[in-house]
């Protein structure tokens, strides 16, 4: 697989360079990807937990979601 690159455009000279990332920059990129995936999983888990808590509450109250919306409108 090709190494990831960065593009640098010199506005003064018009020169455009495509430079391979250093090992350190690749590590940063991979860490960002790992963090993004962790954030996505955390957000998904939070959304699932909220949906479960909401369904549990509606069941406890014995009303539907539409009825709950009507109560709060």
């Amino acid at each position: 697989m090709d190494k990831p690159t960065k593009v640098i455009i010199n506005c003064e000279t018009g020169e455009q360079e495509v430079i391979e990332l250093t090992a350190e920059e690749i590590a940063e990129l991979e860490a960002a990807a790992a963090q993004a995936e962790a954030d996505r999983i955390a957000a998904e888990e939070e959304a699932n937990a909220k949906a479960t808590a909401k369904a549990d509450l509606l069941e406890k109250l014995g009303i539907t979601e539409e009825e709950a919306k009507l109560l709060l409108s």
């Binding site: 990831p4 690159t5 960065k6 593009v7 455009i9 506005c11 920059e25 990129l29």
Partner: protein, 171 residues
């Protein structure tokens, strides 16, 4: 109102890139406008688009964001951060071959005071959820802006992503 709008430099990616930097930006304009069409390779529907100025990664950025996804509108704020978050670009699980667009307006970029700037971005897709994310942001660096760098929050930007930097005079 601007009466000139000059293309300073542009690039369309011929290979995927983790960042795009415009360096040695001339100081002969009053404002800068950056227009972007981009897509990220990251495994998500969309990815955050970031900007930094003058290779400055200290805590000189803050931003207020308005986000809409078609059903929910939210606002978020971050202060004294090391990079400004300016919006979204579609990523690998968005509809294939769709690119988002963004416009970033940087008035008085030569100012030696704090520099407020704004962005409007959309993450375009043919699926049910599309995103709009607009930012009011601030860079508190006291040098004029001579370089800027665009990065996605993760992954790289795809081939075909394009970047156009314009200068405006007499705005």
């Amino acid at each position: 109102m601007a009466n000139t709008y000059t293309l300073i430099s542009s690039n369309t990616l011929s290979s995927s890139a983790a960042s795009v930097t415009f360096s040695s930006i001339p100081s002969t304009y009053t404002d800068l406008v950056l227009r972007i069409s981009s897509r990220s390779s990251a495994g998500a529907v969309q990815r955050i688009m970031n900007i930094e100025f003058n290779a400055d990664t200290t805590t000189k950025y803050s931003d207020t964001l308005l986000t809409g996804d078609g059903s929910t509108a939210t606002s978020t704020r971050e202060s004294a951060v090391t990079i400004a978050l300016i919006g979204y670009m579609p990523a690998s699980t968005a509809t294939a071959n769709t690119f988002g667009n963004a416009e970033i307006y940087i008035p008085s970029y030569n100012s030696t005071s704090s520099k407020p700037f704004s962005s409007a971005t959309v993450s375009e897709t043919n699926a049910t959820a599309a995103y709009i994310r607009n930012a009011a942001a601030l860079y508190t660096g006291t040098s004029g802006i001579s370089s800027l760098r665009i990065t996605p929050s993760s992954g790289t930007m795809d081939i075909g992503s394009s970047f156009y930097l314009y200068g405006i005079k007499n705005s």
